[in-house]
Symmetry: C2
Amino acid sequence: MAVALLSIGTELTRGEIINTNEAWLAAELTAAGFTVSESSTVDDDVDRIVAAVRQLASAHRLVIATGGLGPTTDDLTAKAAARAMGTDLVRDESTLLAIRRRVESRGKTMNAGHEKQAEVPAGSEILPNSSGSAPGFGIHLGESTVFFLPGVPREMKSMFAEQVLPRVRPAAPNNTFQVRLRTYGLPESTLGELLKGVEEAHPGITLGYRVHYPEVDLKVHARAATQSMAHDLALKATADVRERLGTAVYGEGGDAFPEMVGRSVRARGWRLAVSESCTGGLISHLLTSYPASDYLVGAAVTYANSAKTRLLGVAEDTLRGHGAVSAEVAAEMAQGVRRLCEVDVAISVTGIAGPTGGTATKPVGLCYWAVSHPGGLVVRDRVFSGDREEVQLGAAYAVLDLLRRIAGNLPER
Amino acid sequence: MAVALLSIGTELTRGEIINTNEAWLAAELTAAGFTVSESSTVDDDVDRIVAAVRQLASAHRLVIATGGLGPTTDDLTAKAAARAMGTDLVRDESTLLAIRRRVESRGKTMNAGHEKQAEVPAGSEILPNSSGSAPGFGIHLGESTVFFLPGVPREMKSMFAEQVLPRVRPAAPNNTFQVRLRTYGLPESTLGELLKGVEEAHPGITLGYRVHYPEVDLKVHARAATQSMAHDLALKATADVRERLGTAVYGEGGDAFPEMVGRSVRARGWRLAVSESCTGGLISHLLTSYPASDYLVGAAVTYANSAKTRLLGVAEDTLRGHGAVSAEVAAEMAQGVRRLCEVDVAISVTGIAGPTGGTATKPVGLCYWAVSHPGGLVVRDRVFSGDREEVQLGAAYAVLDLLRRIAGNLPER
C-alpha cells in the first residue's frame, strides 16, 4: 500500500531544522512492508496544511502527518485538520487530565499552552502521548486515514510505535526484502565498478548507494512474488556482493562502525586506550556513543603540546625535532597512553584539522595515526580533504579501521 | 517568489538517509529572500521524477532538484530531466574532459560510471562541479527554471553557491527580516509563556520555535513594506524578547553553544581542562568541533575507575565510599584534571548514561558535574531523561552552561 508523509512546520520550509522525522517514518514504514511514494513539507499556514492534507489523502489510503501540535501560537495543525474534516476543535477532558497530571508531577502549573494541547478535531480518534503532553489523533477523509503526530522526535516515535503501527500493520503488503551492507574505505564509484553486473546476474535485485561520509551504505533490495522468495533472492545477491567487496564491508543493517570496531577489540579480550590531538575527543565520543563500551579504559585528549608531554610522556625532543604533527609523535602518543592506562592496545591521532594551521610541508588535512598493540606498532598517514569536520571524521575512521583490522586479523590497508 | 524543492532518491523515500540537503537549501533560499512554499521527495523512478518535475515546474517559477546524478545504475535524474523536456541525453565533451582530469589527478583511471556523469539533457545549461565529478544543469520548462544539482551535500552546496545563487538572486523579493535567537535551559512551553503578547505588541512579527535537544531556537520573523522596515521591526521585537528571556539566550544566528562557551573562557584569558566519564569524550568533541579552541589544553576521558585514579588522582577511598557516580568524585575529577594540566579552570562529569547500569538510588540518567575555577568549586546534579544520547548531551550541556555562567559572571542556575 502506497503511503504519503506530510511534515508541517515553517522551521522546515525555512530550513531551520533538518527533517529527521521523515527519514525515520519512511524507514519504519518501509520495514513494515509499505512503500512511501511521496513526502511533502508545508509551513505553519492553515490553508496550506488543509490543502496538503486533502491532496495527499485523495491519492493515498494512508497519510502520516507530523508537527504543529505543540503549545505555542505557531502550532496550527489541529485547527487545520478540523477544517479539512469540516468540523471544529473540541477540548478532550481525559487528555486535559493527562496533561494536568504530567505537568503537576513535574512541580509546574498548567498554562494556556498546555490547555491548547488538549484541543482536537471533533470526531477524531485520540492517540495518547506516552512521552509528552500533546496527543496525536487520527481522522478519516474519504477513503483515506490520516494520522497526526507531534513533531518532537521522541514523542513522534513512541506514538507511531505504540498507536499507529498496530493499527496499520495488517494493511501492509509483503513481497520485498532488503539487506543493507555498511562499507568503509572505498569510494562510491569504485563500489559501482566492483558491483557491475550484480543486478543483471540476480533479476529482481536493485542496488542502492548512500554516501554518508566517510561511509557508503549499500542496499541490496529484492522484489519477488512472495516475501520468502524476495528474502532468498536478497541473501543470494548479498553473498555475491560481499564476495566482491571483501573487508570493505564492516557490517549489516543497524551495525554502526564504532560499535563494530569495539566488538573486534572486545572479541580479542583487549582493553583499549585512546590518545587524540586534532580529533579532539571525537574518537572517544564515537566509541562511547554505544553501550557496552567498557573495553575502553580511558582517553587522553592532548590538544596542547604541554598536555602531550605531561599526560602521555611524549618527549620534548620529539616535539621539537619532528613537530607535533609527525609519525614520531603519533607513535609516542599511542605508546604513552598504552603505558599510562596499562592496556593491551592503544591508538593515537595527531594532525591539522584546519581551517588554519597548515604549512607548505604540512598542509591542512595532514594526519598521522598509530596503533600500538601486543604484536607491535603501526603508523599511517594521509592528507584528508574537506572541512574541519571531514578531516576529523576521516582521521577518526582511519585509525579505528586500522584497529579493526589488527584486532580482527584482517589485511591492513 | 515562491520556490519549490525536489529531492530525488530511493534512499530518501525508504528513510535510509536524512534529507539534510532540503534544510540547507531552504535556509539559503530563505536567507536570499525567497519563500520556499513546497518541498517534495520522490524515489529513483524515471516516471515519478518526470511527473514531479513537471508538476512542481507548473506551479513554481523556480525549482531546485537534488540527487540522482551519480555514477551508479540507480542515478536516473539526467534521463528523467531529458524526458521532461522531450529531449535526449547527450555527452558533453568539456565535462568529460573535466572529469577525466579530476580522475587522473587522483591516480585513478576512467570507468563507465565516470563517463555516465558527462551525459546531460540536450539543450540544458551545464553547471560545472568544483568539488566533485557530476555536473549539474539547468533546464526551462514552460515559465519555470529547474536546476538539477548533485545529492552529495558538499558538491550540492558549492554548486548552489557558485552557479545557482548568482543566477537567481536578482529575482528574490526582499521585505522580510529574521533574527534567530539561540537558547538553552528553558523548555519550549516556558519560552511560550514568557513570550506571550510579543506578537501582538509588534504587528508584523511572527515567533517560531525549534527544539533540537537540548537547545530551543527562537526565530523572530518580521514582514513589513520594505526590508529596511522589516529589519527595524525585527530588531525592536528581538530586544523585547531578549529582555524577557535573559541569560537563557546564549547567542544569535549561526552561534553555536560550545563555541560561545569557549568564547567566554577565552575572554577571561583562562585555559581549560576537561574530565569526562559518562559523556565519553563528547564535551571535548563539542568544544573542538570549532576552530580557535586552543584555550582547551587537554581532556581526560576516564571511563574506567582505574583511569580516574591513575590519570586524575581520584582517591580510591572516595570511589569506594561514594561510588564513581557521586558529587565527591565529580569534584575530585575536576580538581585532578585542573592540577594535571596546570590550568585555570576545569570541568568534570560523571554519571550513568544508560541504557543499563542504574540502581534504585542511582537511576540511569543521574549525572554529577563540577567546575573548579579560581573562585572555588561548584558541583551540581540532575537526573536526565531520555536515551543514552540524550543523557550524554544533557549532561555535556549542563556543565558547559555552568562554565559559561561562571566565566561570564552570569547568575548560576
